[in-house]
């Protein structure tokens, strides 16, 4: 594999990984490793469009069974259900977005999707993001972004700015939801 092809796969994998990240139970993590792996496998098949469409229809995320809120937060009776519902909605939304991105990229260049490194790197990048933002609080989120920036420098990614921009948006989404939780705690 030459450097140009490698760089394209690396950029693509980072963007896919960021696309899967969401706020759930106080952690910034991928919506479902198992479902992501399924999509990355399906997109390599000859009839990937139909296979992915079926997969989207069949995806019924489980509601979180245990909700983690700060102990100081007083919730109204229906808040846990609202939270569980929003998590499920977000999971389905991310699954749909990832599916669309994979179909588009596979249609544009199916040889890219046939490369097993795409799956490996996407799952690795998800692991790196989850580790980097583990126990992250909004106050130190930008410090964590710096760690990813340094890693991207070491990976010599030409599209680093785009990746950081996408990641900031994903983290800001996390921050907004965290702020909502904190405001509830003040009431």
């Amino acid at each position: 594999m030459n450097y140009e092809e490698f760089s394209r796969i690396n950029q693509f994998s980072w963007e896919l990984a960021i696309m899967t990240m969401m706020w759930n139970e106080g952690k910034f993590r991928a919506y479902s490793r198992a479902k992501i792996r399924e999509l990355l496998t399906l997109v390599q098949s000859p009839d990937y469009q139909q296979a992915i469409a079926r997969n989207i229809d069949e995806y019924k995320p489980q509601s979180p069974t245990r909700l983690v809120f700060p102990t100081t937060v007083r919730m109204s009776e229906n808040e846990p259900e609202e939270h569980a519902s929003s998590v499920v909605t977000k999971q389905k939304e991310l699954h749909g977005k990832l599916s669309s991105a994979l179909i588009k990229m596979a249609t544009d260049d199916h040889s890219l999707m046939g490369n097993s490194i795409v799956m490996k790197y996407t799952l690795w990048d998800i692991g790196i993001l989850e580790q980097t933002f583990e126990n992250a609080h909004p106050a130190d989120a930008h410090g964590r972004l710096n760690r990813i920036e340094k890693l991207l420098d070491a990976e010599a990614i030409p599209g680093k700015e785009r990746i950081i921009s996408l990641l900031k948006k994903a983290v800001d989404g996390t921050m907004n939801q965290t702020n909502v939780t904190e405001k509830r705690g003040e009431n």
Binding site: Y3, F6, I128, Q131, E134, K150, A154, A156
Partner: protein, 183 residues
């Protein structure tokens, strides 16, 4: 490709010791005193990751991504934060090598040497700590080893610099954590 110079090797040796100091050292006292770097196979496997891609421009990013993924990953799933200080310094060191070395093949060679020196250095130190009954004897051997390594280089560090490194390595040995489940 031009061979690495003595000055370049000196920098890599210094970098390798700085990285060794970020590793967690474990000590077993029974049945005999033994030292080992925690999850040592992860460090050994880094060299393999650097060899997985032929193209040097791809090999280095692949190596560093592998390190960023595998080092903080617990063996039974989940996260293991003990490698984060090492990983941060490794990324910083790789970035510096990339900025200062324009030839890709030499860049990869430097990182290969760096990882090799980390493995050799850590192993040698573990052997010295275990083999010597007193701290003074161990310190003398560590000092001899460092001086011998630097003596072949054109610009060896000052005595003060060497002594500081020996002191830091001895403190690293002093702070070895007693391994669980060995008593």
């Amino acid at each position: 490709m031009q061979d690495l110079t003595a000055d370049e090797l000196k920098v890599l040796i210094s970098d390798s010791y700085a990285l060794i100091l970020k590793l967690k050292l474990e000590r077993k006292d029974f049945p005999s005193q033994q030292y080992s770097v925690s999850s040592r196979n992860k460090i050994k496997n880094l060299a393999e990751a650097l060899r997985e891609m032929d193209e040097p421009g791809a090999a280095i990013p692949h190596f560093i991504k592998n390190a960023a993924y595998s080092l903080p990953r617990a063996e039974r799933g989940g996260h293991d934060n003990k490698f984060l200080p090492f990983l941060d310094l490794l990324i910083q060191t790789v970035n510096r090598i990339s900025q200062t070395e324009p030839v890709l093949e030499r860049r990869r060679k430097k990182i290969q040497y760096l990882i090799g020196y980390i493995n050799w250095g850590a192993e040698s130190l573990c052997t010295i700590f275990a083999a010597n009954e007193t701290r003074t004897e161990a310190q003398r051997q560590v000092s001899d080893m460092i001086k011998a390594e630097y003596s072949v280089l054109s610009t060896a560090p000052s005595n003060q610099e060497t002594q500081r490194l020996v002191d830091n390595l001895m403190t690293w040995g002093d702070n070895a954590m007693s391994s669980a489940g060995v008593h």
